[in-house]
């Protein structure tokens, strides 16, 4: 019996047993297409269909949206998503393709939309039928998110949207976008409002999606241009001018500090995706020659790998300590560190892997001699997506300094 199982309530234990039994029968076979390293790099419809089929079957089995009410398409359970995630990780299932929908859009819609809208949107979001994307960043507003300029002008019951969003992951497949925009130009934060917008149906009719090519050569994120797109006022979340507050709900979940656990934190590994853990570094070091021995025997390499192992274990133990209130001085202190730590650990691990590979780190995906198929250089380059997106590491440090340590706001 694992430590996770020990403290399950009877309801959770029953759910865990169900998840284990279902996963034993239904974890999908590896795909015939190459899968990307994360949902943010899904490029082709082949990749998408494989992953969408997986999300649909997991949803049908009750492993997605477990903690949301039944009325909005959830499982109506208590603290069971965490268990589903643990079991999916253990079963090494593929990741869910609707990562922005599950991680960011679902909690935001759930907390801020009208009941009717929730019931309409969430079931198809959970099942993966509707892929979601997030329209936050703009060419002139990335880290300084409150400066967004995409503007919506009122026209009766409609709004007319004009503007330019950028770094929009999955927009090329998305039915829906969560959209932060400006409804009042005279004030900064209070001039923002928050909408959900059906973008796929508006392609060519006020919405243009253009792929951007990443440093890795992959696509997966885009720029999205709005030209006189009309949307109904019923797609607005919360009150007019409250967009910033709604965005904070989104960001809290994006940074791993939200209360509703989503499957975006689980089921992220499969055989075909790359694992940047210290154990993978050890494996690589054992296979790599250096000065007449293996890299695994080099004291500096050993020290670097152990530093990574300790950082990984430290993060796991932080999450564990986060549930012991007597050992916390500030309620958000650990939760707000998650994204920063995880992204920097991944980046450093991939960087160390390239150092271990030495000259062979120059070989990329198409080269038959590339160690691990060239996955490590790609993981290293990809890792900058995580230290930049969702608030750069610099912004994360500002947030921690200001909200947890109480230091003056950097503007």
């Amino acid at each position: 019996m694992s430590a996770d199982q020990q403290k399950d309530t009877p309801e959770q234990a029953e759910f865990r047993a169900h998840a284990q039994a279902w996963l034993a029968e239904n974890t999908p076979e590896p795909p015939t297409v190459r899968l990307p390293q994360s949902p943010l790099e899904i490029m082709t419809t082949d990749q998408l269909s494989y992953l969408q089929a997986w999300q649909k079957s997991a949803y049908d089995a009750g492993l997605v949206g477990c903690d949301y009410p039944v009325e909005v398409g959830g499982g109506g359970r208590q603290n069971c998503q965490r268990i589903a995630n643990e079991e999916m990780r253990r079963a090494r299932t593929p990741f869910m393709p609707n990562v922005i929908g599950l991680g960011m859009a679902a909690p935001t819609v759930f907390y801020h939309a009208q009941e009717e809208l929730k019931q309409r949107l969430l079931p198809k979001l959970f099942s993966g039928e509707d892929i979601w994307c997030q329209g936050f960043s703009e060419p002139g507003a990335g880290s300084d998110l409150a400066s967004v300029q995409t503007f919506a002008e009122r026209k009766g019951d409609k709004w007319v949207i004009n503007g330019h969003k950028v770094w929009t992951s999955l927009a090329h497949f998305a039915e829906w976008m969560i959209l932060l925009l400006r409804t009042d130009k005279s004030v900064k934060h209070d001039g923002l409002s928050y909408f959900v917008v059906p973008i796929k149906s508006a392609l060519g009719k006020g919405v243009t999606v253009r792929p951007l090519i990443k440093i890795t050569g992959e696509t997966g994120f885009n720029e999205v241009i709005f030209e006189d797109l009309e949307v109904d006022d019923s797609y607005r979340l919360d009150e007019l001018g409250k967009g910033w507050q709604v965005a904070m709900t989104t960001l809290a979940h994006e940074r791993g500090a939200g209360e509703l656990v989503t499957p975006s934190s689980g089921g992220m590994k499969s055989e075909s995706t790359h694992n940047t853990s210290a154990m993978a570094l050890i494996d690589l070091a054992r296979r790599t020659a250096r000065n007449g021995a293996t890299a695994a025997e080099d004291p500096l390499v050993r020290d670097q790998i152990m530093q990574q192992l300790i950082r990984e274990q430290g993060l796991a133990e932080n999450n564990r300590r986060g549930r012991v209130t007597e050992l916390l001085d500030h309620p958000m202190r650990l939760a707000l560190q998650n994204k920063l730590l995880m992204s920097e650990i991944m980046q450093d691990s991939a960087g160390i892997a390239m150092d271990i590979e030495g000259a062979a780190a120059s070989l990329y995906l198409g080269d038959g001699s590339a160690p691990d198929g060239g996955q490590w250089p790609m993981a290293y380059m990809n890792s900058f997506g995580f230290t930049i997106a969702a608030g750069t590491s610099e912004v994360q440090r500002n947030i921690l300094g200001e909200r947890v340590l109480g230091m003056a706001k950097s503007k």
């Binding site: 152990m306 133990e317 050992l327 001085d329 202190r333």
Partner: protein
């Protein structure tokens, strides 16, 4: 056996930690510490012994000294996770006392089998003790033990004995033929010569102990198993102390950064300062979480204890160095003065950082466990 998700940190453990924090916050603030230990700034000031014996006696009455003594020997037998919580609070106050060495001796005695019972009973009755196990290089490797036992008498010199001026007893490692055993004796036994060291850390004292034909009680003839069991606990306690001291450094430096104005703004406004302090916080949190996991492993999964203790000590030792350097740096000019309290914690952390193996040392051992 598996580890409980809450590290086994019970209400009782929380109460112990909380009461220690309150007691020390009330009676032993940094200005009290500074007043007590920082009278003489002379660089070549010689060995010194400053502590509040009355307050320590009060702690002894609360039973802190016998927390690691099993109930069968008259102690409390608290789980390590609870004791670690207490040590974190002592570190936060940099309180000079012989608690850490006494707890260390208790764990070693407890792991030594039947021979450890009588000394443990003595500790339960108020004796305090320190480990005399290191050679002149600071190594406590049993094969290099600097003391020898011939015909039941100890000869040799043990170095880096912690809080030697405050303890009543010593637990000594000595070669005894092919093995290295453990021996128990009073500090004032005939033939024992204590030579105090002049040290950087003002919150501790330290010395070397010369044994010249000293009679001692044999605790066990072969200490290797006892060391294997006890060292992870000892590493964990010193790591907890570093975590507590790190918290003091962080909070004090943040307060200063919030208060001190430069360029018409508080220092903490500037990212060059803010980000350094966030990194210190992150380092502290990692070390703290690993300390509780190491304590929990020692309590519940002994075969894994060394692995987790190496992680905790490595993280705490590196953090002690970074928190110290950043706390002085971010205080600017005042941080470089004797009058600013920051140096007290800086010095305690630098002492702790290297005492039972620094970060690279622990990682090298961790690597041999994990990678072979």
């Amino acid at each position: 056996m598996t580890q409980p998700d809450n590290f086994g940190f019970t209400e009782e453990a929380a109460l112990l930690k909380d009461s220690a924090r309150k007691l020390l916050a009330e009676k032993f603030t940094a200005d009290v510490l500074h007043g007590m230990v920082a009278g003489d700034p002379t660089p070549e000031r010689g060995p010194a012994l400053h502590w509040d014996e009355a307050l320590w006696a009060q702690m002894q009455e609360l039973g802190w000294g016998l927390l690691a003594v099993p109930e069968a020997q008259g102690g409390v037998g608290m789980p390590l996770v609870a004791v670690a919580g207490l040590c974190e609070e002592l570190g936060r106050a940099a309180f000079p006392c012989p608690l850490l060495p006494t707890l260390s001796a208790s764990y070693l005695l407890g792991a030594a089998g039947a021979g450890g019972e009588a000394p443990l009973e003595a500790i339960a009755e108020g004796a305090t003790a320190s480990l005399a196990v290191s050679d002149a290089n600071g190594s406590w490797d049993l094969a290099q033990t600097p003391v020898e036992c011939i015909d039941g008498k100890l000869n040799g010199t043990a170095c880096f004995v912690q809080d030697i001026g405050k303890v009543s007893h010593l637990l000594v490692c000595a070669r005894n033929g092919d093995t290295t055993g453990l021996y128990w004796l009073a500090v004032d036994a005939p033939g024992v010569d204590v030579q105090a060291d002049a040290i950087v850390d003002l919150s501790r004292d330290q010395g070397r102990v010369v044994f010249a034909g000293v009679e001692a009680m044999q605790v066990c003839a072969d200490a290797s198993a006892a060391f294997a069991r006890a060292m992870p606990a000892i590493w964990t306690l010193y790591a907890a102390d570093m975590v507590g001291a790190g918290e003091w450094q962080l909070q004090t430096t943040v307060d200063y950064a919030n208060q001190r104005q430069q360029f018409d703004r508080p220092l903490g406004f500037f990212q060059a300062v803010k980000h350094q302090l966030v990194d210190v916080m992150v380092d502290i949190d990692r070390a703290k979480s690993l300390v509780y996991s190491a304590a929990c492993a020692w309590d519940t999964e002994p075969e894994e204890a060394a692995r987790y203790a190496h992680m905790a000590q490595s993280a705490a030792s590196d953090m002690a160095a970074s928190a110290s350097s950043r706390s002085v740096q971010c205080h600017g000019g005042i941080g470089f003065t004797w009058e600013c309290f920051v140096h007290l914690f800086f010095k305690r952390q630098k002492h702790s950082q290297m005492l039972w193996g620094d970060g690279p040392w622990h990682r090298a051992r961790l690597a041999s466990i994990v990678m072979g």
